[in-house]
Amino acid sequence: MRGMSSIVQQIARLLAGVLFLFGTYIVLHGHLTPGGGFAGGVLIAASFILVSLAFGSVEQTERNLYTLSSVVESVGGVLFVGLALAAYVGGTFFFQNASIYGVGSPLHLISGGIILPANIAIGIKVGAGLFAIFLALGASRFVMKD
């Protein structure tokens, strides 16, 4: 993939970090404010997509990133299922919330028991998954163009 013009590159340089930070904020505050793992994950993926569209990349890096992001996506999924299974350790049933984590004090960042870690797992999964899809589509175009 080739990069884009220097105007796009400057804007992407300014925007990508803010976008990533905002995505992380939405994931971490999913249990307090509107948002959550899905919305924040898409924003995180968008920041990566912005960078790779604006600056371009070489094929080998793209392939490595593609493997890495599909592995990270699976890790997010396993993490989410693991959180659900962890309730068995506490002696209760699948997806039981407050048995082993504790509810925490409401309206604080550490609250809501399983909801915060589950949001983080979903955020990782959605972000890496969307970026992997983008890379798969982009990489195939790269190969077809040659």
């Binding site: 968008a46 699976s74 399983i114 798969a136």
Partner: protein, 184 residues
């Protein structure tokens, strides 16, 4: 309420434009208008969660469409001017079915509770006990990740399947191409 109907009219017009215009870039922009109108509608109906997702997804979609169109072709060659004879019967059939369905749906929908006055049986409990039982202030997060965690697990599985499917298809195509070129 009136702004919702204005938005609906805008969306209908934009959707028709997206289908019938020959310039594909203009069609993608019209599709974006539909999507962002949906986002505004979510904000008006006080669902900021959905609005955030809708805005981000819509931006990504329009960017993807624009990228594909800029790299391939700009004109839709499948749109023909003039009436084709073999399309007359299907069109009439569609319109007839649509009218019948609308009449039946209109009768059925009058039986439903009116807008903004839902029948809440389980949801009442969720809203009343959400903060107390889970300690999370956002009632949407309470529902999707606690009371209805199974749904979210299913949703995550759907996404996982979609990613695996796309990766499988695209990777195969890439490998074949690579073998054809004699690379390792």
């Amino acid at each position: 309420m009136i702004e919702l109907y204005v938005l609906l009219a805008v969306m209908l017009v934009a959707a028709l434009v997206a289908i019938h215009i020959k310039d594909l870039l203009a069609a993608a922009v019209a599709l974006g208008i539909v999507g962002f109108s949906v986002a505004i509608m979510f904000i008006l109906l006080q669902a900021p969660d959905l609005a955030i997702v809708q805005i981000v997804i819509e931006t990504l979609t329009v960017v993807l469409f624009a990228a594909v169109i800029l790299r391939t072709t700009n004109t839709d060659t499948t749109i023909n001017d003039g009436v084709k004879r073999e399309l007359v019967f299907p069109t009439v059939a569609y319109v007839t079915f649509g009218v019948v369905f609308l009449i039946l749906a209109g009768r059925a929908l009058t039986e439903l509770p009116s807008f903004g006055d839902p029948t809440m049986l389980v949801a009442k409990e969720y809203i009343a006990l959400g903060l107390e039982k889970t300690g999370a202030a956002n009632v949407v997060a309470t529902i999707i990740l606690d009371f209805r965690g199974y749904d979210t697990l299913g949703e995550a599985t759907v996404l996982f399947t979609a990613v695996v499917g796309v990766l499988t298809i695209m990777r195969r195509a890439g490998r074949k191409e690579q073998d054809g070129e004699g690379r390792d």
